[in-house]
């Protein structure tokens, strides 16, 4: 299987406010504490847009922006893959509520923000990026599915790909049927070239194996409780900067990732 390098990472969750500041927790030097998450600023959005967009859009764009800032390359040239189990539940809730009311006053803004590729659309507009972009879901395996698609895209087109995975707890009453314990978003800038790397990866897709779990109970709760956080074992391995192998379970087919030293 072809190689793939992680060039930069963006990260946002309670107690994990950015990639650099999260190193001590991810490397196990400090226990995970679910401190309140700072508001995702997504400063690349124009101020008027920022007021109109939802927490989901801001969170996805925040980690994308963080990863691209680290890499210091033009986001307008980078293909993107957005992976989310359920998309923007806040918007879907508002539409379903409106549909129970007389005359069913669905807001046109909510309707256009209801599509799964809304964060991708706002990202493309904010960065002027006309490159291809894919938005996908594989329920609890959305992170692994996104990584697989991003890798396939990077290899096919021999180009950088930005993977953004995000999920937020749905509002009541949906949350009673889809428990997501906390917001979590991660962005990985992936490069199929060998020469420039934070962490070189080798991907292997094959027979089902159990996914890696995390030693830290708090981090493990987050991993198990948010589909985007299923990428945490990979983030911990990258932060440790040591060779290793993590399995990101993917239902019938596992995706395992070997991190080279």
């Amino acid at each position: 299987m072809n190689p793939l390098a992680v060039e930069a990472v963006g990260l946002m969750a309670p107690g994990l406010a950015g990639w650099t500041t999260s190193q001590a927790v991810l490397t196990g030097q400090r226990p995970y504490v679910a401190e309140p998450m700072p508001a995702a600023m997504a400063t690349l959005l124009p101020a008027n847009e920022r007021r109109r967009v939802t927490a989901t859009i801001k969170l996805a764009l925040q980690v994308a922006q963080e990863a691209m800032a680290q890499a210091d390359i033009d986001a307008g040239a980078v293909r993107t893959v957005f992976a989310s189990s359920g998309g923007d539940s806040e918007i879907l809730d508002k539409i379903c509520v409106a549909l129970t009311q007389p005359d069913r006053p669905v807001s046109p803004t909510h309707f256009h923000q209801s599509v799964h590729n809304t964060p991708a659309g706002y990202w493309a507009i904010a960065t002027g990026c006309m490159q291809p972009s894919l938005s996908l879901s594989a329920y609890d395996d959305s992170f692994a599915a996104g990584l697989r698609e991003a890798a396939a895209l990077a290899w096919a087109d021999q180009t950088r790909v930005l993977l953004v995975a995000y999920d937020l707890p749905p509002p009541f009453p949906l949350v009673e049927r889809r428990m997501i314990v906390a917001p979590f978003a991660v962005a990985l800038l992936l490069n199929p070239a060998q020469d420039y790397r934070l962490a070189p990866l080798r991907l292997e897709s094959g027979a089902n194996q159990p996914a890696n779990r995390l030693d830290d109970a708090g981090l493990e709760q987050l991993r198990a409780g948010n589909p985007a956080a299923r990428g945490l074992p990979l983030l911990c391995a990258i932060a440790r900067r040591k060779a290793g192998r993590v399995v990101l379970s993917d239902g019938g087919v596992s995706l395992s990732v070997e991190i080279e030293p």
């Binding site: 396939a152 049927r177 019938g252």
Partner: protein, 398 residues
């Protein structure tokens, strides 16, 4: 060098024209529309829709009962037509169930189940009814999960959800993931079903027409929402392959506006050019273009600019939305299979309902059906968020 083509080993269609590919081909040939005045649930909207008859009476049962919702019923109905299941069984024996990927495009998946559940909330607690099953119905992945289980496949699976380009982009994902070795063959599909979210949503945006939609017409005033399921089985083409081949794909983003297409069709232009480049096919070698052609004034104008820029005014093109309505996330695969049928049967469909071409538009839109041998044809799909995808299909044996 041109990319390695994929062959369509099997295909199936279900939409407002009927169940199975023959129903679609017959209606295309006869110029019979599947559109009707809106009679979906209790939606009192003055618009027309492309509804699939009979879904209300055909629930999913047994082990598939948790998946029961309009969208997965439509998926099942689609998978049962045209011998598709039998073709997948043959492929399963050949490749192994874990080596066939599943890539299904959808825009709203089974949100209709959530719409119903919100009308049945507990008056005291506000909770949703106990019968509501979010992961198997509403969740975006549900339709891909249902598809792989129905077909007995255990390989990679995902739902692609990029609004109205979803199931076109599923072809591109399948090509890449086969190329990467994540699977050896692929079931690519698209399923979107009628729901109040899209009917009232397009109505709120002022994009739903009160008449049967009229793409490229001087008096066009909007789209009709339709529903459809379409699936293809893709495998690498063999030397001398006489099947319809996916020769190229192109994808782009408009980076312009969430709902309005770029006025000059800049993203659409890129998508078409890249599909041609990947296939190493010249614009003048394309015999037919199936347009996205939703019949909204701005979308048709933007696509027209792009088509005219890439192909000039002479390449025959048409929108088939007047037959099916706009089937949203299923439009890509529906129209890809239309293109495959046209390549096999030498048919250039006209543009149903369109009476007078908008004189301000330049693309070579044909209004009446033509019987004409075709070798290469393009299909366009564009969506909210400025997402664009063009697929180039062809035959090598004629």
């Amino acid at each position: 060098m041109a990319i390695q083509p994929l062959a369509i080993a099997a295909r199936t269609l279900t939409n407002a024209l009927g169940r199975g590919g023959a129903a679609s081909l017959g209606a295309l040939r006869r110029g019979e529309s599947g559109l009707r005045p809106c009679d979906f649930e209790d939606a009192g909207l003055p618009t027309w829709i492309g509804r699939v008859a009979g879904l209300e009476e055909e629930p999913l049962t047994g082990e598939f009962a948790p998946f029961d919702c309009r969208n997965n019923r439509l998926a099942r109905l689609g998978l049962e037509q045209d011998g598709f299941g039998a073709a997948v069984r043959v492929a399963r024996d050949r490749y192994g169930p874990d080596r066939i990927g599943v890539f299904v495009g959808t825009s709203t998946s089974g949100i209709g189940a959530t719409e119903h559940a919100y009308r049945q909330r507990d008056p005291i607690t506000g909770s949703l009814p106990a019968t509501f099953d979010y992961p198997h119905t509403h969740n975006v992945f549900s339709v891909a999960d249902f598809t792989r289980r129905w077909l007995g496949l255990t390989g990679v699976a995902m739902a692609i959800s990029t609004a109205c380009s979803s199931s076109a982009k599923a072809f591109a994902s399948a090509w890449r993931q086969m190329r990467a070795g994540f699977c050896d063959a692929a079931v690519v599909g698209g399923v979107d079903s009628l729901c109040l979210t899209t009917l009232y949503g397009f109505n709120a945006l002022g994009l739903a027409s009160t008449q049967p939609c009229r793409p490229w017409d001087v008096e066009r005033d909007g789209l009709n929402v339709g529903e459809a399921a379409g699936f293809v089985l893709l495998e690498w083409a063999e030397p001398g392959d006489d099947r319809v081949l996916l020769l190229g794909y192109g994808e782009s983003s408009d980076a312009y506006h969430m709902t309005a297409a770029h006025p000059e069709g800049a993203g659409a232009t890129l998508a078409m050019q890249q599909a041609l480049a990947r296939a190493e096919v010249l614009p003048e070698q394309v015999d037919y273009i199936n347009l996205h052609g939703t019949a909204t004034p701005l979308n048709d104008a933007a696509e027209d600019r792009a088509v005219a820029r890439v192909f000039g005014p002479d390449t025959p093109c048409s929108s088939t939305k007047g037959w099916t309505g706009h089937t949203l996330g299923a439009a890509g695969v529906t129209e890809a299979v239309f293109v495959a049928l046209c390549l096999e049967h030498g048919l250039i469909p006209g543009t149903l309902n369109t009476r007078q071409r908008d004189p301000k538009l330049d693309a070579g839109v044909v209004l009446e059906n033509r019987e004409h041998p075709l070798r290469t044809a393009l299909s366009n799909s564009f969506g909210f968020g400025g997402t664009n995808c063009s697929l180039l299909f062809g035959r090598r044996d004629i």
